[in-house]
């Protein structure tokens, strides 16, 4: 079994409107694997992702209890340097959001925020991250163009590359291919398979099929509860829980 990168301990989260979106979650997330969080709408998958890089700080959260240990350090600790944390734990959203600037500027944005000024370093990051996101060949001659000019699939890979330029350790992806065609989806999934060698990847898939295709490990969420977590092979063929089985076999959801 791979080394554990993130340990979620007794995590509960309640939004200020009273919604209890996570209830006593315990989950170990292995390094250098794709961990898939799946389940029907409103299960708390996005809520958990947003805890992992403290993006929840931007929303109205009532109470959050429990711990999230990243390499042994509790990131929910108020003393955590959230800026540094968000560089270590990058996030790709469901809808590709390119910033209103050129392709190159999108890629160097994160590094420039961190104060990186060396042209060669930035240049190197642009090429490296685009190659990792399988976008280099398509855009290498048009880096100065506005990023919105790219197709939806290219924009989403640009968003992935933009996260990679920050050299994170963990990559969170929340239904990254929900708006993409099958070919673009294939490219993103292939890139993730390559990336997991060096990164810890946590993916909320947009379908059970994608979950089964991509998961090394998988966790099934139902109404704020973690029903079952196991290796991908296990959970999609021999789920232990009846509720998991029903969902995986498409009886609800």
């Amino acid at each position: 079994m791979a080394a554990i990168k993130i340990i979620v301990q007794n995590l509960s989260l309640q939004y200020s409107d009273g919604t209890e979106s996570l209830r006593d979650i315990n989950l170990d997330i292995p390094a250098n694997n794709i961990t898939v969080l799946f389940g029907p709408a409103g299960g708390g998958k996005s809520s958990l992702l947003r805890c992992l890089n403290r993006l929840n700080d931007l929303t109205e959260v009532q109470t959050i209890t429990g711990k999230i240990l990243l390499d042994g350090e509790n990131i929910l600790d108020p003393k955590t340097d959230v800026i540094a944390l968000r560089r270590r734990v990058g996030m790709v959203f469901a809808r590709p959001v390119v910033l209103p600037m050129s392709i190159r500027q999108n890629l160097t944005y994160g590094l420039e925020l961190a104060g990186e000024k060396h042209k060669s370093k930035l240049e190197e990051a642009v090429e490296r991250s685009l190659k990792l996101a399988a976008l280099w060949e398509e855009v290498k001659d048009r880096l100065e163009e506005a990023a919105v000019a790219l197709s939806g699939g290219q924009q989403q890979r640009l968003c992935l590359a933009r996260v990679l330029a920050n050299q994170p350790e963990v990559i969170l992806l929340d239904e990254p291919t929900s708006g993409l065609d099958p070919i673009s989806t294939g490219k993103v999934e292939a890139a993730l398979q390559e990336l997991k060698k060096n990164y810890t990847i946590i993916l909320v898939p947009h379908s059970v099929q994608q979950a089964a295709r991509t998961a090394d490990f998988a966790a099934f969420f139902l109404q704020g509860e973690l029903v079952e977590a196991a290796e991908g092979k296990e959970i999609f063929t021999h789920p232990k829980e009846k509720r998991t089985e029903d969902y995986v076999e498409g009886r609800f959801g």
């Binding site: 993006l55 931007l58 540094a84 968000r86 560089r87 990058g90 959001v97 925020l113 506005a146």
Partner: protein
Amino acid sequence: MKRRFKADRFLVQRMGISLIALAAILTVVPIIGLFGYIIAKGAPAISWEFLTTMPSNGMRAGGILPAIVGTFYLTLGTAVLSVPLGIAAAIYLAEYAKENWVTRLIRIAIINLAGIPSVVYGLFGLGLFVLFLKFGTSILSASLTLSIMTLPVIISAAEEALRAVPQSFRTVSISLGGTRWQTIRKIILPQALPGIMTGVILGLERAAGETAPILFTGAAFFLPRLPGSPLDATMALPYHLFVISTQVPEMPIQIQYGTALVLIVFVLGMNLIATFIRSRARAKRQW
């Protein structure tokens, strides 16, 4: 039967369109008429000399240079005082302030400030800046008074422009390790800038054309020389126009309309710049 009904509907629609067109004509015609009238009456007065020399013969001859310069100074002073403060306030309201009774109170105050008659601002300026703070009747007092009048316009417009920038840009920037301020400076402000500029110019344009707020705070009936410091009083186009239209007997009508024309061009020019900025930004916008 059915055909009749259709024809009726068509007729009603046509009548509706005609009514709307009539309304449009009724609003546009007086405006064009007004401009045409002022241009026709005022244009003969306009000359290089009119724009660049001091008035003479009790303002019945010569130019209107001090009024032009004065209005320029007042507008500039108002801009220097109100623009940074207004934008800062808008950033606070749009990006930092939590929704609570304090911010609601601030917003209500801003909306109501925008509705106060300008002469009230003038009295307020007289009490606070001229008398209490002893700035005297001066460009400084007048600019401060105009600033207070302009601030609500700038704050509302800037806040609206900031809020129009998609929330997703903020989320992405923060998720890439940006601080709130970096996000504002690098993404939100540049994207909102055209909208902010439009609001700023429209606010200043109003300030440039106002008479009442400067009446007791900085405007002079007549000055033989140009103001030399912010603590000097100044002539200004709108007040000068008022003076030569009502206070000076045997005033050549040409000079009155010439002055009106200069004021309109000044204000309208600012308006055109604002329109230009807005349309160019719309064309370039990526969201």
